[in-house]
Symmetry: C3
Subunit: 285 residues, 3 copies
Amino acid sequence: MLRILNNSVKISKYATGCVPQVLRFASNASSDLVLVREQNGVREITLNHPKTLNSLSLDMLCALQDALLKDKDSVDLRCVVLTAQGKIWSAGHNLKELHNDPKIQACVFQKLTDVINDIQRLPVPVLGKVNGYAAAAGCQLVVSCDMVVCTKNSKFSTPGAGVGVFCSTPGVAVARIMSRPKSAYMLMTGLPVTGEEAYVSGMVTKAVPAEELDKEIEEITNAIKAKSRAVISLGKEFYYKQLAMSQAEAFSAGQEKMCENFQLGDTKEGIASFFEKRPPNWKHN
Amino acid sequence: MLRILNNSVKISKYATGCVPQVLRFASNASSDLVLVREQNGVREITLNHPKTLNSLSLDMLCALQDALLKDKDSVDLRCVVLTAQGKIWSAGHNLKELHNDPKIQACVFQKLTDVINDIQRLPVPVLGKVNGYAAAAGCQLVVSCDMVVCTKNSKFSTPGAGVGVFCSTPGVAVARIMSRPKSAYMLMTGLPVTGEEAYVSGMVTKAVPAEELDKEIEEITNAIKAKSRAVISLGKEFYYKQLAMSQAEAFSAGQEKMCENFQLGDTKEGIASFFEKRPPNWKHN
Amino acid sequence: MLRILNNSVKISKYATGCVPQVLRFASNASSDLVLVREQNGVREITLNHPKTLNSLSLDMLCALQDALLKDKDSVDLRCVVLTAQGKIWSAGHNLKELHNDPKIQACVFQKLTDVINDIQRLPVPVLGKVNGYAAAAGCQLVVSCDMVVCTKNSKFSTPGAGVGVFCSTPGVAVARIMSRPKSAYMLMTGLPVTGEEAYVSGMVTKAVPAEELDKEIEEITNAIKAKSRAVISLGKEFYYKQLAMSQAEAFSAGQEKMCENFQLGDTKEGIASFFEKRPPNWKHN
């Protein structure tokens, strides 16, 4: 069972909306909770609070949300990579923050759900990159990315029951990726699975040797950048929509979406480039 | 195709409820159909009728149900392990019992569904332990446990079509664990899959060498025993509830369940023990 | 990204129903688009237009549909194997045909959905056999077969976004077989997965060395032929029906289906043969 190190509560300028006013006070370090670097259309967001094992405090979640949503509709943003500093990708929620105020609890759980929804609604793909240990809400967060690449030595667990808090919300995420005998194991025993097991069970897209992680991420981001942002955005939105439908509804809605897709300027360009045997010149619309 | 050995029909004191009165007569052996052993909170239930290949007769199902439900709310019960005597874990329903009375058929199928529901509603985790061959309803039963650990040489099949009875109800279970091209294969061909294939396809939690089976089971039961029964029970109940929900509903219900979880006495103790860096002292409430 | 070779549009005698009258003109080659060979109850349908990379033109889909549905209720038909000529199993829809007429687009997408529904409603199992590359709608088609066996060197991809057409309908199929982090990868990057990866992710039933492909297919078709057509048909129909139900509904409907199954003549024969320790003599009813 992963034990979260002590962490002084900091709920700061990042925390807006649901946080009771009294809890908002300044934190001098909050702006460093996540690092954001953007290059050639790829925004890399790094959880950057190793001393709390990158715990998903309300501050951290707010900083992450800001980093995800900033200029999200800009044509220059093509892909997001979510990663973490240190050997613990994230140990999950911050127990110190959570343990005795029901209002804070409700607020923190809602914020994580919001962030997951933001990830899945973002018009560009979000790629989780894991080289370390993702536990509890940290596991929930990373497997909620559109795709996940991890090292074979990475570990994933939902160990909350060990401190009396069953990982019920992380369970919503893992049970929708792995089969029941696998996700029930993670939740009811709290024991970790390795990157390799996570791969076999469908929890992650790929599990690679540590020295190949950057290359694998680059191959994926390059593949995304080679395409039209408008096409990927239309496709991603429909992807999540159809997941909630029956097969019959989904095929019917898919046919309509395909026809709608053909109306995009970039689709005409893509097909023209194909017939003219030249690279497409995307306008991203 | 697994061929079930002849087995004289015995519907006895175990069969209650849906069984027509006329069919209830005493069986001198029925009390040995399952063996029950309980130690340190782990109840081991062993299917114990190798001469019928542990066929799931109405008697067997009733004996199993009794063994599962006995003192189910006792704080002393922390985990159930379901296993079997002999090389055939279970060959499935008893054809001799089933073959010519529609009332008995309906009764037997309902009883198996009841047992599966009992397993999933039990307040403690149920762990299937397989070292052998689980076929048809036997396959359905074991993969309906919360978790399953098998040996790599174990086999699983749904071969009913070979004697004219398509494994429709076992199919409900396997199709919810494996992908369609895998479960359709099992059902439409009746061919078996090995423990290793069962692992890769998500049908079981782990497939281990025979000599590691006991150790693996012990690791799991120890992990469960280290936790609060009340927390595991709350978590297991919600786990099955959320599986039937959309992702959006499930996250919303999960957030409420997490807040409810924090109200448990054992949660306060778990968090206190965490901050005080000592083992928790669970009261299981 | 797979590039489809030029292909003159041919919409011919095969295209009926939704195709605007003006587009129906004769194609002298259309009758060779698929090859059909039937032997001992196994109908092998081969996509046979390698020069268009077996593109799923409206003509091809109509020819395929005809080949699937012909005498579908004949007792002599026991199993269908769907395969392809050449190294490209199918490159997907025919872009030349699709690119500028919304009526044709709607018609082609609807026809593929119809063919997939036909496959899943056919009273006998349909087995995809892949030794090569299945892309886009070609991937959708083959993974919509009841079972799929491929060579380890086969590849599967949904690369449509590369020419501006996100594989939204293929996504409906792959997202129902693979976990989200896997299917999202295929759709959002367009990168291929190998036969081995397809196996691990649940996309196919088996991935075998090329020299074992025929033997594996034969083992499956033999297993199907050893059973009653009526029993397999009843089971297959229920299999797809229950997939759309909750677990509780599905178990309840399954119990009824099992009782109905026992009323078949072949079930009585199957059980009798079992007790008499002789091979069953199926009447297929």
